[in-house]
């Protein structure tokens, strides 16, 4: 919401600069920033007149205007529907830079020269309106700078009003805050309306059928109005508020709403269709066309204003096309009402519409301010539209809403804020805010809460009022020494931190997926789980929740590869979301993906392509660092991985994750055409495992010795089997067995492979003699030869 500061000053009587006022408001809870239009953005923007207008020879929707700025003539092409010869307009001439970003130059449009632009409000940055070009008073002087003519150097304060403060959605409301900050209570004078002798109640009846939705409805009749443009001062003020001028009647409704916060609606009395206003819930299936031309099918959640037969307005949201004020309207039926906030919220949700009115009604306007707002509008309609105001307001109160009283114990203020406030500060502040104090004792204050403050209903709300006016910055900082003596660290948090340390240490970069997934791609990766669906997603790609970390890994990998970054290793710690009966299972999980070259190329030994063993080796380090049983892999087809290179990860007997080469067909769906390796771990399962603490092992006292053996065996035999055979046949002297070479081809026959083992021998109570080692080694070799039909390589 924007309000010109001159207006606020006029009502509140403060004398601060706009910046200072905005600062004070901000620090008391009404966030505002003073701004004025940048003069630079209006260079070469002047008042002109359309002297003639012709159709563009080559474009149906464009017209060619000759525009005079007094001394010069300009040919300008214009596409606005409201463009007419004779109009005074605002033209941007070559050299202008609108909003500081749009340069105006002489151009050709469909073969016809155009030397500028006839401007709409949005093009000048005055409002968001692009309904047509700005049409000025006939009296506007040609050639004058638009900045001067429109008085654009005036400061306008832009506000961000929190939803609890509907009263501040108006000039009166903000002015009240300013007065309080100035140490005063703002008293607003009642508008003076001169009425005719004819009684409004003879012309209109108000019947409220839904007292829940409409606690109060007032109607006034204003006759003999002349619909026409508003005076410049009102147009200017509305423009400063970002509201487009329509005609005097609509402008007055808007103006009074901005002033008092009371949304008003002006019906054309003669087109209203009856002499009674009936407020009721819409019928199921009832059809209604709003002002904007949209037809809506309604149900009982929508509150309707009707003429007894058909709907004429969706209460508090938008009027109907059938009773709109038009150029020829002479009699106005003016509505000023209080509608229930949650009813209006439901209505506008159902209609899929939102308006300045509904915005205010759903936050809560003053139920007891409806009459004075109606008076104010009637006063202006008499003054500015020549209207004759019929006597009286037809006021139907179906459900009175009275001010409530709230008790405040003074001691609670310091208990909550931690500061003792000076003398009369509390009672004066409450009084200045418009709260009458029916009780004002040493400890207890009883405040009568005006109905324009629906946010205040409890003691704590009053404390907040006092705090924000006192200034939160003035409350001294303190320290509360309590709470637990130490804060425990949870194992899962430790594991997450360790994983980050280890993985970055191994050269992996940490990524963050969104958690969202495209349903088709997600199900390709994990067909067994139906992912959780969002009912109101942003897009298909963000339509479901991921069930596997692999999804996010592939999305990230695809992005990198598309951007020509083909060597990378990434990991993520985050959640997957698995549907269950009630609350979904949302385990923290770990995922990694690696592709391309393992290391940056190095001049000594070149680079090395990644493979499965690289990740397998990483798992060994992970389990060791996390102090759990070693992670071992077992072949099993896991969705998303290549069937021949797919494994589950086990820790002891417990399954904790999976590892493999990403299935190439799946990878291609993510634009990954190179081999990629991935692994996933369920961190909840790992966190639940007991941490292994092994006792200290004494260091060896006696030297060991080692022997190597290379054997040629059938290709299908597994190295681990042979390793286990070496351990068992070698007995207690064998301390470590390592595969140090694997070789196929060359002298090794087809279908065979050469595997080389290095075996360490050591005794804990003596230095081993060569003969003893040789004896054991021979036994080992013989066993290998027998068991695996192995040939020996020299």
């Amino acid at each position: 919401m924007k309000l010109p500061y001159s207006w606020l000053k006029e009502i509140s009587g403060v004398s601060w600069s706009a910046d200072e006022a905005a600062d004070r408001l901000t620090l008391s809870g009404t966030a505002g920033l003073a701004e004025s239009h940048n003069r630079e953005h209006f260079k070469n923007v002047v008042v002109g007149q359309i002297s003639s207008l012709e159709k563009h020879p080559n474009a149906d929707k464009l017209q060619v205007a000759n525009v005079t700025t007094g001394s010069d003539e300009w040919q300008i092409i214009c596409g606005a529907p409201n463009c007419e010869a004779g109009q005074k307009v605002i033209v941007a001439l070559p050299g202008a830079c609108l909003k500081g970003e749009f340069d105006i130059k002489e151009i050709k449009m469909r073969g016809v020269k155009s030397a500028g632009m006839i401007c709409a409000e949005d093009e000048l940055g005055l409002s968001d309106d692009h309904g047509g070009i700005i049409v000025l008073d006939e009296s506007a002087p040609l050639g004058v700078d638009a900045y001067e003519y429109l008085n654009l150097d005036e400061a306008v304060i832009g506000f961000e009003i929190t939803p609890n403060r509907p009263d501040c959605l108006s000039a009166n409301g903000v002015a009240r805050e300013l007065a309080v900050l100035d140490g005063r209570r703002l008293e607003l004078s009642a508008p003076a309306v001169s009425e005719s002798s004819e009684k409004a109640s003879d012309q209109i009846k108000v019947i409220i059928e839904d007292s829940h939705g409409c606690p109060r409805y007032t109607a006034r009749i204003i006759k003999n109005v002349k619909v026409g443009p508003s005076p410049d001062w009102m147009q200017k003020r509305l423009l400063d508020c970002g509201v487009r001028s329509i005609n005097n009647i609509v402008d007055i409704s808007n103006y009074v709403m901005l002033e008092t916060n009371q949304p008003l609606h002006a019906f054309d009395y003669d087109r209203f269709g009856s002499r009674e206003v009936i407020i009721r819930q819409a019928n199921d299936g009832e059809l209604f066309t709003t002002l904007d031309g949209q037809e809506h099918k309604l149900d009982s959640s929508v509150l309707m204003i009707t003429n007894g037969k058909i709907g004429v307005a969706a209460a508090g949201v938008m009027g109907g096309l059938n009773s709109e004020v038009e150029e020829g309207t002479t009699t106005i039926l003016l509505e000023s009402a209080y509608f229930d906030p949650s009813v209006i919220r439901k209505s506008r949700n159902r209609l899929g519409l939102s308006s300045e009115s509904s915005y205010r009604f759903e936050r809560g306007i003053d139920p007891n301010g409806v009459v004075s707002a109606s008076d104010r509008a009637a006063q202006l309609m008499a003054e500015l539209a020549g209207g004759e105001v019929l006597a009286g307001v037809v006021d139907n109160i179906a459900r009175p809403i009275e001010p409530i009283t709230v008790n405040l114990r003074r001691s609670q203020v310091s208990r909550l804020l931690g500061v003792d406030l000076p003398g009369n500060f509390i009672s004066e502040t409450l009084n200045n805010l418009g709260f009458d104090l029916s009780e004002n004792k040493a400890e207890l204050i009883t405040a009568v809460i005006p109905t324009f403050r629906p946010d205040v209903s409890r003691e704590v709300d009053l404390i907040e009022e006092v705090a924000r006016i006192f200034g939160m910055g003035n409350i001294p900082n303190s320290t509360h020494n309590s709470g637990p003596l130490y804060s425990p660290t949870h194992r899962r948090d430790t594991i997450k931190e360790q994983l980050r340390q280890i993985m970055t240490g191994f050269g992996y970069d940490e990524m963050l997926g969104t958690g969202f997934a495209n349903p088709d791609l997600m199900q390709k990766i994990e067909p067994a789980v139906k992912p959780i669906r969002l009912t109101n997603p942003i897009s298909d790609d963000f339509g479901y929740m991921r069930t596997r970390m692999l999804y996010s890994m592939l999305v990230a990998a695809g992005h990198n590869i598309r951007h020509r970054n083909i060597d990378f290793k990434l990991f993520e710690i985050g959640r997957v979301y698995i549907p269950q009966d009630k609350m979904p299972d949302q385990p923290y999980s770990f995922g990694l993906i690696a592709t391309g070259q393992s290391l940056a190329p190095y001049w000594k030994n070149g680079s090395e392509a990644l493979d499965l063993f690289e990740i397998k080796g990483l798992l060994t380090s992970l389990s060791d660092s996390l102090s759990v049983w070693p992670f071992v892999i077992e072949p099993e087809v896991v969705a998303g991985y290549d069937k021949g290179l797919s494994f589950v990860i086990k820790c002891g007997t417990v399954r904790v994750g999976s590892i493999g080469m990403v299935d190439q067909k799946t990878a291609r769906l993510f634009d990954i055409k190179q081999k990629a390796f991935a692994a996933e771990l369920n961190l909840e399962i790992i966190s639940s495992m007991e941490k292994r603490i092994s006792p200290y092992q004494p260091l060896p006292k006696y030297p060991g010795s080692s022997r190597d053996v290379a054997i040629v065996v059938d290709n299908h035999l597994q190295a681990e089997e042979m390793r286990q055979s070496i351990i068992s046949s070698g007995g207690e002297l064998v301390r470590a067995v390592t595969v140090f070479d694997l070789f196929t081809g060359g002298q090794v026959p087809e279908g065979k492979k050469s595997v080389a083992f290095s075996i360490d021998f050591r005794s804990s109570d003596r230095t081993l003699q060569d003969e003893e080692v040789d004896r054991v080694f021979k036994k080992i070799v013989n066993t290998l030869v027998d068991k695996f039909k192995a040939g020996l390589r020299e």
Binding site: A31, M472, H480, L534, L570
Partner: protein, 337 residues
């Protein structure tokens, strides 16, 4: 010639020869000729057995010193021949062996820093579900049904009536239900908002929520705690301001601005010429929240605050597009440490 004389002459000749040597090979030959098993020194010392014990001691000492001198001279010459005191001919400008090191995500880096500060202030870490019930995300936090306060939280809903939490405040309720005061906890985590995706807003981000409930916790305590946090994270003495605001689950509520660290409050594009950067929301926990978890608000008071991680990260590194954080381009991730 006495042995001593022979040794002296050997010493003189050795120095001359070493000086003249013009390659490592020549030097090595010299060394073998002088000090080797069959070298000059050894052959001179063969005459030692004819000497008395006293003479033997004298000659022995001299021979040892001579040996040391010659070795030293050879070593010095060798260094000179190989071109420099380092004795090295390698091209030290070649790159060293690359040791892989990865990078934490920027969000993690900022989060780690926050968590570390709050842990030092005695806060325990708690966690809660990201797919949550309306009750824990809204109802128990005093967001009435059909209230405009809910508009500030554009919410994603999932099948089955659950929602994606819009803040980590759900952890407040879940922890309050499990504990009795004092409770002093931070809840870091991921949250979701159904906002349009553009350079300035994204549908996923991270928060750290913190709260303390005990007897006699005041707004002044909240200010003290947040000042301590900001002094530690930004810099000692940084200017802060507390602006009254509105959150359904706190009363009074405030937003905290830190003076723009780029322009020191003078106004710049980073702070949009306001001089201040909004960094967090906070307040005293609303009595309605206590009522919903069965705490007695006449006995206990408490404060709560929430900081957005992404915003801090974007501000700190002046990143102009939040989407970069979730694209996971490794070249982006590697820029932060």
């Amino acid at each position: 010639m006495s042995i001593i004389k022979q040794l002296e002459q050997l010493g003189i000749k050795a120095q001359t020869d070493i000086k003249q040597a013009d390659s490592g090979d020549v030097l090595e030959k010299l060394r073998v000729g002088l000090l080797g098993k069959k070298g000059a020194l050894t052959s001179i010392l063969r005459g030692l057995k004819e000497l008395s014990v006293e003479e033997k001691r004298e000659v022995g000492g001299l021979a040892n010193r001579l040996k040391g001198t010659i070795e030293e001279s050879i070593a010095t010459k060798r260094e000179a021949l190989s071109g420099g005191s380092g004795g090295s001919t390698i091209d030290y400008t070649l790159p060293g062996k690359p040791h892989a090191h990865g990078h934490r995500h920027l969000v993690t880096l900022v989060m780690d820093e926050f968590i570390s500060i709050f842990q030092r202030m005695g806060f325990e870490i708690a966690d809660g579900p990201e797919i949550e019930t309306d009750h824990y995300n809204f109802g128990a936090l005093n967001f009435p049904d059909d209230h405009p306060a809910r508009d500030e939280h554009d919410t994603f809903y999932v099948d089955g009536g659950l929602l994606l939490r819009t803040h980590t405040s759900n952890v407040q309720i879940r922890e309050f239900e499990k504990r009795t005061p004092p409770v002093k906890i931070i809840a870091p985590g991921r949250v979701f908002r159904n906002e349009s995706v553009n350079a300035r807003s994204f549908c996923v981000f991270h928060q750290v929520e913190g709260f303390l409930v005990d007897e006699n916790v005041t707004f002044g305590d909240l200010k003290g705690a947040l000042e301590a946090f900001c002094y530690e994270y930004f810099e000692e003495g940084v200017n802060l301001r507390f602006r009254p605001s509105f959150f359904p689950f706190t009363e009074p509520s405030a937003e905290v601005d830190v003076q723009c660290f780029l322009c020191s409050g003078k106004g710049c594009t980073l702070c949009k010429y306001e001089g201040w950067l909004e960094i967090l929301g906070c307040g005293m926990i609303d009595p309605e929240v206590f009522r919903s978890v069965g705490y007695d608000s006449e006995k206990y008071t408490g404060y709560a605050f929430g900081v957005g991680i992404e915003r801090m990260a974007l501000l700190k590194y002046r990143i102009n597009d939040i989407r970069l954080l979730y694209e996971n381009d490794a070249r982006f991730i590697r820029q932060f440490r």
